[in-house]
């Protein structure tokens, strides 16, 4: 029987014991909006989760708007900030990093009346801050918002958010940032960030699935996306999930307390292999999330590598997981200037709280053979008309 070695934390991290404990130990299942005692107990659990979560990321409890996940948080931020900024003056421009998560890109593209501008990135995936400066110099008054992630989920590249918020503050433009990949890995502080809104997701840090949050700075104008009971500060409707929120907070608290430098040490043998193997190029730049590597392998499709490694009991991912299990070319890698073939050839290895040195060793042992076989697959298909 295969041993499953899980090296795809960036897709979803295994749930932490503390998160599971917090999830199942809720006193009673009740609606936190109910007036009876069980309802109040549920509300108390939700409040505590909000306090714990806020404290971990340097936010006020009142900043936390629980959502169904990172995608909803991104959608709420992009559409909500954009709508709120259409006051007397039209502000059609929306600046988004070219390597943002599709939750940001696709929601931005759907906004009626919006002129979405994708901020170009360099070959390392870093957004061009000079481009942002130039845009704001000319069109600050017509710009609704800027959205740039803290770190990329596919390559791990950490963006210069401070520079972006400086430029935006001077121009009076709110900035949203997707912290889904970065949370628990980088030391982040919402209060000090100068950001208007920040997206978070529970399952990426070892919390339960189906929970996320948008941090919204006090005083930031934001229109809710869906009408209803307005349970989350009037900004998000829908009965909250106190268990999920408690699990989320527990996971984030634990993740934030961890020494993430250890993850880099664990990946040492993989880095050594990548440096020595002629077919492997490391796409992850020096300024990156701990525990994540994006590797470009010559003459293979990432899909084949993932298949072969999976058959050896090792779970990795080709770029980001998507759509009905189909691995397409990565828009992130294409934005970094890679062609379609290369953008389909990346292998993402991401580790986390439960990863051991033996796990990484197993990958390092299996990868060369998988590459050789994947290259053979590509050669078989290369001669086709």
């Amino acid at each position: 029987m295969k041993t499953d070695i899980y090296l795809d934390y960036a897709a979803s991290a295994p749930i932490r014991a503390a998160a599971l404990e917090a999830y199942v130990s809720a006193p009673v299942a009740a609606n936190p909006s109910s007036v009876h005692r069980p309802g109040r107990q549920a509300a108390a659990q939700l409040d505590q989760a909000r306090i714990d979560l806020a404290q971990t990321v340097g936010a006020e409890p009142g900043d936390v708007v629980f959502t169904s996940g990172g995608t909803e948080a991104d959608a709420l931020a992009v559409t909500g900030l954009f709508a709120a900024r259409q006051t007397a003056a039209a502000r059609p421009y929306l600046l988004v990093g070219a390597t943002e998560h599709v939750a940001v890109l696709e929601n931005a593209d759907r906004l009626p009346g919006a002129e979405v501008i994708r901020i170009p990135v360099d070959r390392n995936g870093f957004v061009d801050t000079a481009f942002v400066a130039e845009h704001l110099a000319e069109r600050a008054q017509q710009t609704a918002l800027i959205s740039v992630m803290a770190a990329n989920n596919e390559t791990g590249a950490i963006q210069d958010l401070d520079r972006i918020t400086q430029l935006a503050a001077a121009a009076g433009v709110p900035v949203h940032s997707d912290w889904v990949a970065a949370a628990g890995k980088l030391s982040l502080n919402f209060a000090a960030s100068g950001l208007a809104a920040v997206s978070l997701s529970a399952h990426k840090v070892g919390g339960p699935g189906g929970v996320g949050a948008l941090l919204v700075r006090r005083g930031t104008a934001l229109e809710p996306r869906q009408a209803g009971g307005g349970q989350e500060g009037g900004l998000r409707s829908g009965t909250q999930d106190p268990r999920g929120a408690a699990g989320f907070a527990a996971a984030l608290v634990e993740a934030a307390a961890e020494d993430t430098a250890g993850l880099e040490t664990l990946l040492g043998p993989l880095d050594a292999l990548a440096a020595a193997h002629p077919a492997i190029r490391v796409l992850t730049p020096p300024a990156h999330l701990p525990g994540l590597r994006s590797l470009l392998v010559d003459q293979v499709r990432g899909e084949s590598l993932v298949f072969l490694l999976d058959s050896m009991g090792i779970a990795c991912s080709a770029g980001s997981a998507c759509h009905a299990g189909v691995v397409g070319p990565s828009h992130v890698l294409e934005a970094m200037g890679l062609d379609r073939a290369a953008a389909s050839a990346a292998l993402r290895v991401s580790i986390g709280h439960a990863t051991t040195a033996a796990d990484v060793e197993a990958l390092v042992k299996a990868l060369p053979e998988a590459i050789t076989r994947a290259q053979r697959v590509a050669q078989t298909e290369g001669g086709r008309p």
Partner: protein, 398 residues
Amino acid sequence: MKVAAALSGGVDSAVAAARLVKAGHEVTAIHMALQRTPALRRQGSRGCCSLEDASDARQAAQKLGLDFYVWDLSDTFTDLVVRDFIDSYGAGLTPNPCIRCNEFVKFRVLLERAEALGFDAVATGHYARLEPDDAGGAGLRRAVDLAKDQSYVLAASGRAALARCLFPLGDAPSKAAVRQEAAELGLGVARKRDSYDICFIPDGDTRGYLREQLGERPGPIVDGAGTQVGEHLGAYQFTVGQRKGLSLSRPAADGRPRYVTRVDTATNVVQVGPVEALDAPQFGTLAVNWLESDFQAEVDQLADVTASDATGGAADSAADGAAGGVPVAVQVRAHSKALTAQVTNSGDGFAVQLGEPLRGLAPGQSAVFYRGDLAVAQAVVAPFEGAGSRSAKLNPGA
């Protein structure tokens, strides 16, 4: 054997995979993602069949305890099946995209990728039987259930590819039995309805699809005498034998229904005529894909005899030559009956003389030749002049 079982999301391929597991093979489930054009993806998010199929396939694999992967073959499918479909219609031919998909996607690209990844064979839920030989080939026989037989759409794939395939449903007694088997296995797809449409035209409106792809090209509809009797928006939208959707302005003199008898996309003329005009007594084919060497030897032998008999006149009438050809049965559509025929070599293909006229033969169709339930050869019907008329001239190899 290590088998890559192609799971479409339907009941047949799921039961086929289950039968392989039962037979002791090491089975991995593969779902082919074939359509990724933005239009189809948008439809997908509105609840299109294709995403639902992927999900059905995954659930079936889970039920059977199989590893499951989605392989993206959409580029290949678009280039070799969809593009060819549009181009063929544009050239006045009647292509069968399912045959193309079998030939180029399932039993070529999928098969090659599976082999490169260490699989010994690819399995599908097709209804047909295989007879592997010792030389790396396999013969193709009709399924036990003749009503479901799919040997017709498999023949073009050829002996070499078929030798690396498994069709576990070839001996299934009936579709009902397969559904019963699925139900007993607890497969959710047991009662899923069969799909008949062309998968990349989910609304079934082939003419609308072609119009979108090729644009409107108005032209005349004429009768056998060349008199204009109506107008069309593009000859490519018509196929020989078609009766519906002609909107003729002038009724036929005898008041009988008229059918498309000829499609000429070069001049953009569609010709119509009475049903008898669809009766083709003979036709020619493009290059032959031989499936049985005995049959090939017989036909070749006849050609040698003919060549030595004829003194320079062999080329003038391939049709006449076919009269004394090798007896065989021929089928030109997926669910039509096979007709008796005699074939001879002619240029690059066959000259086929039919025992009884074949109604609505169209260039581009795949003709599969059978001896009993054994498929012995396959070839594409060649373009011909005055399709269906008694004075048809064969133009094999054109």
